[in-house]
Symmetry: C2
Subunit: 358 residues, 2 copies
């Protein structure tokens, strides 16, 4: 008898971690749902990773820079959305696999450009590709992955998906541009916050759900339902991300959970949801945040004090409420879909998104 | 009677300038061919510019950065390739116009990323978008234009053209990457030079010819002929570009003709064809060029001395021979095409490419 050695795919590891967190919190039902989900999608996630591994590793520095970030592997949440939506139909077919890889490549491409734009030093606990290979390589690597993604979507030949992805990328860029223009402008503008989040985060989750749905051959009402689910999951995801910028913070070290520098959003002058709430409730924070942003090398103590002041306003609880509200909307969106394992799995993902620690 | 005021389109201005240069050189036949060509395509180039003007001018900084460069208008050579190839068939239809705009947008997108990568200060006689709007805006503006171009190609619905453009962009990025890796490495490697030129310059000219050909409904042999023409025109174009880095040089001012900083390729450590030839013929240049590249702020006098030493090897004449050789290949490529005004016009463009001063 041979023993097959198989590495647990990243997506399944994420589900395992969420199950453990849920278990530790006493959420036994969610733990059990996550364990079931992990078993249900594991083989599909193995297939996804095998497909992702087909991306060429050539001799060019742009390829090294792209693989540097891909090899640090994120959470593979967007591909998981493609997997789960596809399971309403014939499942995670080779066509769906190509689309799942494409959505991960687009996501990675945006990170490669963002890290140049943000002059970010760390990502996923390691130096960014821009630090290791230079800004030029990181820019071209983003371009390269974007094109690789679009070619895979083209090759899948699923009606309308390439057009839709191009529209999504357009939305993402305009949202990134708005965020760039507002950087360092300390104004509590909720409308603008949601415009940015919908463009830069929710739009790609939405596409991932659409891609899976269209592979599954669902009718239009179900497709729209899954897209709505994707939008709300994306907003909830971003709200939790915003919250994580303020948690797990201990001095100036890297956040052990997220692998990002602590308070990086705050220091980059990005208006996260906790900051917006805190400014609404405690306008005196305005001057303090402006001062810390004007400082080239702000003191860790002052950053920590601002983070504490933000927490003291109850802004993190408000951010959690925002995430919970959008998880509720995501669950409501599922109503038109046939009951069964596929719908259960999306419910589980939505509920578990609130448990995320990284 | 109303007098219609109409601005001469950029492409026609380029043809006029080339006609004047040819006339001044005593090339009366070429002057007359260029004047005819200008009249023949003027209305199409007006249509092209009208179509280009439909690109949205929104409130976002990425849009400002993109329009900054587009408004400085290049030579619109790649769109002219689409126009001329389309005239073998039903002409410059609305579909062909969309493709001509797309090829100009892809070209502009690559310049926006190149100017960040090269830390370039001037382009088309003006500060680069990266200088005016920042690197972040220039990166996202390149992304935005790339997506806008691909959407237009998708909308044209001409079989295979979107796939081919994605393959071309992939080639361009890998060539840019190779050039980036070799930057500052002073080695006379002709094979590598041609790999880079084919990827970063010739591939897009080739696509422009293909796009026009496919709109014209030509058979496969004619399509291949036009693509070959595009490749050789692209190489000739790059050879002349390389030559221009060494001409029109007077001290450290901006080159009045090209609008670029003088000797910018040399100072960026890019192995242009004149440098390769000069190094083959005069190996002692190696140490001098390395020294000037190692210098953060090289003396204008030393740059000028190196340029003179390159010229003294006869490298510029050799570069001109390279351009002439590829113009010959371009003309030969036209053989399978039906004789007539369309073929004449391409011959004229190929011959005139050698007269370019900017």
């Amino acid at each position: 008898m041979t023993v097959a050695y198989e590495v647990t795919p990243v997506g399944a590891q994420v589900l395992d971690r969420l199950a453990n967190v849920s278990g530790a919190r006493g959420a036994a039902e969610l733990r059990s749902r996550l364990a079931n989900l992990g078993r249900w999608v594991r083989a599909d996630l193995v297939d996804f990773e095998a497909e992702l591994a087909t991306l060429s590793r050539g001799a060019r520095v742009v390829q090294s820079a792209a693989h540097h970030l891909l090899d640090l592997r994120g959470k593979h949440l967007r591909p998981m959305c493609v997997v789960l939506a596809s399971k309403f139909g014939e499942g995670f077919t080779p066509r769906a696999r190509g689309l799942a890889v494409a959505v991960e490549l687009v996501h990675t491409a945006t990170l490669l450009h963002d890290d140049v734009v943000d002059v970010a030093e760390r990502r996923r606990g390691q130096p960014t590709a821009a630090v290791v290979y230079g800004n030029a390589a990181s820019i071209f690597a983003g371009d390269w992955l974007l094109v690789a993604a679009l070619r895979r979507i083209g090759a899948a030949k699923v009606d309308g998906l390439l057009d839709r992805m191009l529209a999504v990328i357009d939305e993402m860029i305009l949202a990134e541009s708005l965020q760039l223009e507002r950087r360092g402008r300390i104004v509590a503008d909720r409308d603008e916050y949601f415009r940015i989040v919908e463009g830069k985060t929710a739009a790609l989750f939405r596409w991932a759900m659409l891609a899976g749905a269209r592979c599954a051959g669902l009718d239009e009402a179900c497709e729209i339902a899954l897209e709505r689910f994707g939008v709300h999951l994306g907003i909830a995801f971003q709200a939790v991300d915003d919250e994580l910028d303020f948690t797990g913070f201990a001095g100036t070290e890297v956040n052990a959970e997220t692998g990002k520098d602590p308070l990086v959003d705050l220091r980059e002058g990005k208006m996260t949801y906790p900051l917006i709430v805190a400014l609404e409730r405690e306008p005196s924070l305005h001057a303090r945040i402006e001062a810390v942003l004007a400082d080239e090398a702000p003191q860790a103590a002052e950053l920590a004090a601002i983070a504490a002041a933000v927490r003291a306003t109850g802004a993190l609880a408000a951010t959690r409420e925002l995430a919970e509200e959008h998880v509720r909307h995501a669950l409501e969106a599922l109503a038109p879909l046939p009951a069964g394992a596929a719908r259960d799995s999306l419910e589980t993902v939505a509920l578990a998104s609130l448990e995320r620690q990284s």
